[in-house]
């Protein structure tokens, strides 16, 4: 009775390229998308580098260009990724869809802040005597410098709204924003919407950039970012003993999901199956992950159970693997709890973090890692964790160090853990 949910289209816009095969080849070659920050003058920031999407224009991908003029970067990335997935799924020009049963579930972040004009309004509105904003002065400046369209396009539902316009989707429409877990969660929830019959086809994934002065400020203040300003390409070091923070990335990944039955009926080739999904809350602290990885382990167990798959059947784990001290050690602990209950580390499958190459795409990270799983199944190749030079004695699993490798891959697990203790896991299987 349970429906099988399959991926029929995939696309991404990332710091390593703007199409499926280019990015995949770059990941397998161990390339880094990290470099000096060019989006704004970050030269004096604690972190002066990040992984930017470069040379990209969504107008090369979309058909209703006039409806997307002036969108935020998050929406722009989502449009390009979605157009690729739509085409790959064979839906471009396909007229057999019921638009009211075509849904969208994204895990996208807000658009980038119009920093200069926002700061101008704040400075103009400041009353030094009161040490507070004078609303009159603030509004006068804001009305003269803020652009209504730019502000509206920052709302986190705008990527969703624009994809709906582009593809004519009138079905269930959601955007979730659970920090770094968002797009994994979106895929899981989209698959549930299909399973319970509320839609025939779902467009899912996410898009995000926090590469703007206040975004970087926020993470720098949390001391979450790597500060290896002299060697940006080797800064993202998931699971290494000398890891000291994540590297900001940006971009989007989009999947087209449908029931296997629906895909077969319209002659679409399924790429991989979303077989399991787990979602839990740590309910621990706003700043820290539960020290035992309680929530993360439980999300993995839930996903495996739903996929009716024993841990031993997992061939590869696409890790959350941010490269922060805390995440990588607790994620390792959680994986050991699920996969090595007897303490035998040989029971854990190979694990890698493509964040070592792409940086951390925040809300969009999870979907790109799900795409990695689907491609690993397709090609029998595991992407590496690059910059792995100094093993951490406490982190003793196989992290696919530095070089891609061949492997028989039928079933993968993909983890995403968000700030605030949000844990989401997918099990992705060969169809």
């Amino acid at each position: 009775m349970s429906q099988r949910i399959v991926i029929t289209g995939m696309g991404w816009i990332t710091p390593l390229g703007h199409d499926l095969e280019t990015v995949w080849a770059a990941l397998l070659s161990g390339a880094s998308g990290v470099d000096k920050t060019t989006r704004f003058d970050a030269s004096t920031f604690p972190t002066t580098f990040c992984a930017e999407v470069k040379g990209y224009d969504h107008n090369d991908y979309v058909s209703k260009k006039e409806l997307h003029e002036g969108v935020g970067l998050n929406t722009s990335f989502a449009l390009g990724a979605a157009a690729q997935a739509w085409k790959m799924a064979g839906l471009d020009g396909f007229d057999g869809l019921d638009s009211s049963r075509l849904g969208i579930y994204l895990g996208s972040g807000e658009g980038s802040l119009d920093f200069d004009n926002y700061v101008a309004a704040n400075l103009a509105g400041w009353s030094a005597d009161d040490r507070a904003i004078d609303g009159k002065a603030w509004a006068a400046q804001a009305h003269s410098c803020l652009k209504p369209m730019v502000e509206i396009e920052q709302e986190p539902n705008m990527p969703l709204t624009h994809l709906a316009l582009e593809f004519g989707a009138e079905g269930p429409a959601y955007n979730c924003l659970t920090a770094c877990a968002a797009s994994t969660q979106a895929i899981g929830e989209a698959s549930q919407i299909l399973r319970c019959g509320d839609a025939d086809v779902m467009i899912t994934g996410g898009a995000h950039t926090m590469i703007h002065p206040l975004g970087v400020t926020g993470f720098n203040r949390l001391t979450a970012l790597s500060n290896r300003n002299d060697t940006p390409q080797t800064a993202s070091r998931p699971f290494s003993a000398d890891r000291e923070g994540f590297v900001m990335g940006e971009g989007a990944g989009i999947l087209v999901l449908e029931t296997l039955e629906h895909a077969q009926a319209r002659g679409a080739a399924p790429i991989a199956e979303i077989a399991g999904y787990g979602s839990t809350a740590d309910a621990y602290r706003i700043t820290d992950i539960h020290p035992d990885g309680r929530g993360g382990a439980q999300a993995m167990r839930q996903a495996l159970e739903m996929a009716d798959t024993p841990p031993s059947a997992i061939d590869y784990i696409s890790a959350h693997g941010t490269g922060t001290k805390e995440n990588d050690s607790i994620e390792t602990k959680a994986i050991r709890a699920v996969f090595c209950p007897d303490g035998d580390i040989a029971s854990a499958p190979p694990i890698s973090s493509v964040k070592s190459m792409l940086g951390h795409l925040i809300a969009a990270a999870g979907v790109c890692e799900a795409i990695v799983c689907a491609l690993a199944i397709r090609d029998g190749r595991l992407p590496p964790t690059i910059n792995y030079q100094t093993p951490d004695p406490a982190l003793d699993l196989d992290y696919v160090p530095n070089d891609a490798r061949d492997a028989a891959v039928n079933t993968c697990l993909s983890n995403s853990f968000g700030f605030g203790g949000q844990n989401d896991t997918l099990v992705i299987k060969r169809v």
Partner: protein, 433 residues
């Protein structure tokens, strides 16, 4: 097999008060919370009125003593959600970690889905730091900011403004370890979160969920973003009469502040743990997207097709015909184009019966609470079913076509729907228990 789901507790936090016992009598009597903005001098924004929370609201009153320190890193939106969750848990008679007693449920069996908006930084706090990075000519010096300047912000600054911090704090305070999510679809956020909790319980992934949404746009940046949506009333001099849903003289909505949390429970586990009555049974849920290329879907199409699809989907989910609906709590924000779309959707679904089915918007009293709006509407609908009474219709002296019914023939099944900014729509059907 889908499990039956009840609404067992509600926690509204809005301009009319904190908690259902405070809000309901005022809403029933036709009181209106809209008044000149108190939070800052809003005289030059274009809109200068709002339905703000009552003075004296303090989140510290709603958290355990051990959690008071964490209230320092809560934006106003988070405070509303945390207070609403406390009120809802108590209203449901549900024990959680917050009370220090044996919890009613295994924490892993309780989920949390809360809608949130784009949370703007506290302008005073941020600007106090920004002004220290000015050049001699007063312009902003990003080089100074990147070095010493940003250290004037507290290290945890970012965590106040992540939308998922509403659910994060609520899950920590109450120890809710089940499925959890944060939905950010403007006014549809509350309804979508409710729908996700419903499905999680129906599937058996949790026995209970906290769901709803909260938002405060009473901050210069958030406020002006709402002004930019061009939906706000110009009746700044007459706050009590400003929002006129489905009235011929309607000219726009007003910003509200607030939200609500509802406790949903599987009928089976609720009946086992409690001898009391639930508010209502949830019969069906639906969601949809409006397409209106002319406004880039920022406004619904005149046909009301978007909300109509959501309503039809909820009816289908409930296994009901439209004839079963006794009354409606719509989005009804008080902007003529939005109200026309809502009315068109209802006409398409109800047909001629629209003349006999009361349609009552809460926005005339509570303003448009954005991500909190849907949760407040669901809360009021649940209470109306329990009380067997509808809130008073206010500011509708000259109803638009079809919006004249005031008394329901009976009050067994209520439709609640939201037509959101950006085109996401939700609908739910609740039944008296």
């Amino acid at each position: 097999m889908k499990r039956d789901v009840y609404i067992t507790g509600v926690g509204p936090v809005c301009g009319l008060g904190l908690g259902i016992d405070s809000v309901w009598p005022k809403l029933a009597a036709g009181e209106i919370a809209i008044a000149p903005v108190r939070a800052f001098d809003a005289s030059r924004f274009g809109s200068s009125i709002a339905a703000e929370l009552p003075e004296g609201f303090k989140v510290r009153d709603f958290v355990p003593k051990t959690y008071r320190k964490a209230t320092k890193v809560m934006a106003r939106d988070i405070e509303i959600a945390v207070a609403a969750a406390d009120l809802a848990a108590k209203d449901a008679g549900l024990s959680t970690a917050a009370g220090g007693e044996e919890p009613s449920y295994d924490p892993a069996r309780v989920g949390c889905h809360i809608g949130a908006g784009l949370i703007a930084a506290d302008t005073d706090e941020l600007t106090a730091a920004l002004v220290k990075s000015q050049k001699d000519d007063g312009s902003f010096d990003i080089h100074h900011w990147g070095g010493e300047g940003m250290t004037n912000l507290t290290p945890l600054w970012l965590l106040k403004y992540l939308p998922n911090m509403l659910a994060c704090h609520v899950t920590i305070v109450h120890d809710l370890q089940g499925p959890s999510n944060t939905i950010t679809c403007a006014e549809a956020s509350g309804g979508l979160s409710f729908g996700e909790s419903l499905r999680v319980i129906q599937r058996g992934q949790a026995d209970a969920c906290f769901c709803g949404g909260a938002e405060s746009n009473l901050n210069p940046m958030s406020f002006i973003r709402q002004v930019f949506t061009e939906r706000l009333s110009k009746r700044n001099d007459d706050p009590a009469n400003a929002v006129r849903p489905f009235d011929q003289s309607a000219d726009g909505t007003v910003i509200g502040e607030g939200g609500g949390i509802l406790v949903l429970e599987s009928a089976e586990t609720f009946e086992k743990r409690s001898g009391s009555n639930a508010y209502a049974k949830v019969l069906g849920f639906g969601a949809s997207q409006s397409l209106n290329p002319a406004s880039r879907s920022q406004k619904p199409a005149e046909s009301g097709r978007g909300p109509m699809l959501a309503i039809k989907s909820a009816l289908r989910d409930a296994g009901l015909e439209a004839g079963a609906i006794d009354a409606v709590i719509p989005f009804g924000c008080g902007h003529p184009e939005w109200d026309a779309a809502d009315a068109a959707a209802l006409k398409a679904v109800l047909g001629e019966r629209i003349a006999r089915v009361p349609v009552i918007s809460t926005k005339a009293a509570l303003g448009n609470c954005s991500a909190g709006a849907g949760a407040l509407d669901l809360t009021i609908a649940a209470k109306a079913l329990k009380e067997q009474a509808l809130p008073k219709i206010t500011n509708r002296d000259t109803p638009i076509d079809g919006m004249s019914a005031t008394e329901p023939a009976k009050l067994e099944k209520l439709l609640v729907f939201t037509t959101g900014f950006g085109g996401q729509n939700t609908a739910a059907i609740l039944e008296r228990v």
